[in-house]
Amino acid sequence: MLVWSRRGRALLWTVFALVFVPVVLAPLAVLVLAAVAGSWNGVLPTGYTTGHLGDALAGEQVASLSVSLQTAFLAGIGAVIVGVWGALAVREAPPAARRIADAAMHLPIAVPSVVVGLGLLTAFSRPPIALNGTMWLVVIAHFVLVLAFAYSTVSAALERTDPAYAQVAASLGASPMRVLWRVRVPMLMPAVSAAASLSLALSMGEVGATIMVYPASWRPLSVTIFTLTDRGKVFLASAETVVLLATTVVILVGLGVATRRGRR
C-alpha cells in the first residue's frame, strides 16, 4: 500500500474515476450504445433497437465478416507456424546469426501497415508474380503484419523456458525431432495459443494495409466499417464494430478454453 490515509485514498480513487471513466470507459460504452440506438438526439439515445445489429449480421455485412474470419484464420495459422519455427530456429542459432535473425523477424513491427500494403501493391502488381485483385494480397499483408507479434510472443516464452527440459530429454535417448515434438512444442502450447489469439485479434481489426490492397471481391469487415462511417452510416458502423469485437472475443475465449483442455 502506497497511500495509508483514508482521505488520501478516497481522493486518489476519485481522481482515477474522473479520468478513467471519460478517457477509457466512455468511448467503449458509447460505441455499444450507438449499436443499439434507435435515434439519438439527446445526451442518451432516445430509443433503442436491435435493427442495426440485425443489419450487421445480414447480406453484404455478413459476407464481409466471413471474409475477415477467413483472412484472420489463414494469416493467423501461417503466422503461428512460421513464428514458432522462427523462434525455435533463432534460439538454436549461434549468437551472431541469432541477433540478425531476431531483428529481421521483428522488423515489420517498425513499419506502418500502410507502407506494408503499398509495398505489396507495388511489388505484386506486375510479373513475375501478379496478385493484385486477388484475396492473396490481403492474406499476405495480414500474415506479414501479425507474424512479428506471433514470433515475439513465442520467442519470449522460449527465452523463459529452462533448457534443462530439452537436455534431459536428449539424455534419455530422444532424437532432436522427438525432443521437439514431445517436449519443446507441447511446453510452448500456452504461448502458441496466446500468439494465435493475438494474431487473430490484430488481423480482424487491421485497416492500414488492407485498405491499400483489398479487391472488391474480398472486402474485410474493417474496411466495410470504414466505408459505412465514410457514408455517414455511423449507427450501422457501430453495430458492425460491436459484431467484430464480439466475434473476436468469442473466438479468443474458445481458443483459451481449448488450450486449457488440451493441457489437462
Partner: protein, 270 residues
C-alpha cells in the same frame, strides 16, 4: 546445443518469407520512388516534387507533433493509472486491469468511431453542455491526440504493471513505517524500479503513434494529415504511386531509426 552452425539452415524458411513478403516489396517502394511520369529512367524528380510540397511538410510536422503529444499524454496517464491499480488498489482493480489488457487487442478505429459520437457537432458532449461547447474539436489535431492517448495508454500501462509486480510490497511498508510520505516513497522506491519499463513503453508508444493510421482515417479531419494518411491518399486515392513511395520511404526511415534506438536500448540482453 552441440553444432550451432549446422542448425542455422533452419532459419532460412522464415527469413525467406520475410525477405519475399516484406523486404522485396520495400525494395520496390524505393525503386518506384525513383521514377516519375515526366522523366524516364532513374530520377529524383518525384523526391523533389514531394519534399518541396507544402502538403508533405505539413504532414511531417503534424505527424511528429501529434505523436510526441500523444506519447507524453500516454506516459502521464499510464503512470497514474498503473500506480493506482498496483499500489492503491480498489475493489474491482483486477477487473479494470483485465479490461485494459483486452483493449490492447482491439482495433484503434473503434476509439475514433466512438469519438464521433462523443465530440461530433451533434455529439453527447455538445448536447449535454448545450450548443457547440466543443466546437470543431472532432476535426482538430487535439482530437487525434486525445484518441491516440485513449488507445495507447494501455501500451504504457502493461510493461509498467509488470515492472511494478517486481517491487516488493514490504519495501513500501518499511519505507512508510520509517515515516516517508507517499510522494517520497513513490519517487524514491517505486519510480526508479519502473523507469526502464516506462521508457520502453514510452518509446514503443512513440513508434506506434508515428505509424498510426486507423484513428486518423476514421476521424477524417480534412486539416489533419499525417504521413501514413499521405501514403494512403497518394497511393490509392489519387494514384500517384511514385509520390506515395517517396513518403513511404521517409516514413520507414523515421520509424526504423526509432525502432533501432528502441532495440539497442531495451534488448541488450538478447
Amino acid at each position: 546445443m552441440s553444432h550451432p552452425w549446422r542448425r542455422t539452415p533452419w532459419l532460412l524458411p522464415p527469413l525467406l518469407l520475410i525477405a519475399g513478403f516484406f523486404l522485396y516489396p520495400l525494395y520496390f517502394v524505393v525503386r518506384e520512388s525513383l521514377t516519375a511520369d515526366s522523366a524516364p529512367g532513374v530520377t529524383l524528380a518525384t523526391w523533389q516534387r514531394v519534399l518541396t510540397s507544402g502538403r508533405f511538410l505539413d504532414a511531417l510536422g503534424s505527424t511528429v507533433t501529434i505523436s510526441l503529444a500523444a506519447t507524453v499524454g500516454c506516459v502521464v496517464l499510464g503512470t497514474f493509472f498503473a500506480t493506482v491499480l498496483a499500489f492503491v488498489p480498489f475493489p474491482g482493480a483486477g477487473l479494470v486491469t483485465r479490461l485494459v489488457d483486452t483493449l490492447l487487442a482491439f482495433p484503434s478505429f473503434l476509439i475514433a468511431l466512438a469519438f464521433t459520437f462523443l465530440y461530433g457537432s451533434a455529439g453527447i458532449v455538445n448536447t449535454a453542455l448545450g450548443g457547440s461547447a466543443v466546437g470543431d474539436f472532432l476535426y482538430s489535431p487535439w482530437c487525434v491526440i486525445a484518441a491516440e492517448i485513449t488507445f495507447y495508454t494501455p501500451f504504457v500501462m502493461r510493461p509498467l504493471l509488470a515492472a511494478y509486480s517486481h517491487v516488493p510490497r514490504e519495501q513500501l511498508d518499511v519505507a512508510a513505517s520509517l515515516g516517508a510520505r507517499p510522494g517520497r516513497v513513490f519517487a524514491r522506491i517505486v519510480l526508479p524500479e519502473a523507469l526502464p519499463a516506462l521508457a520502453a513503453g514510452g518509446c514503443l508508444t512513440l513508434l506506434l503513434t508515428l505509424n498510426e493510421f486507423g484513428i486518423v482515417l476514421f476521424i477524417g479531419a480534412k486539416d489533419v494529415t499525417t504521413l501514413p494518411m499521405l501514403v494512403h491518399s497518394y497511393g490509392v486515392v489519387t494514384f500517384d504511386l511514385p509520390a506515395a513511395c517517396v513518403v513511404a520511404v521517409i516514413q520507414v526511415a523515421l520509424s526504423s531509426a526509432l525502432y533501432a534506438v528502441y532495440r539497442r536500448t531495451f534488448h541488450k540482453g538478447r
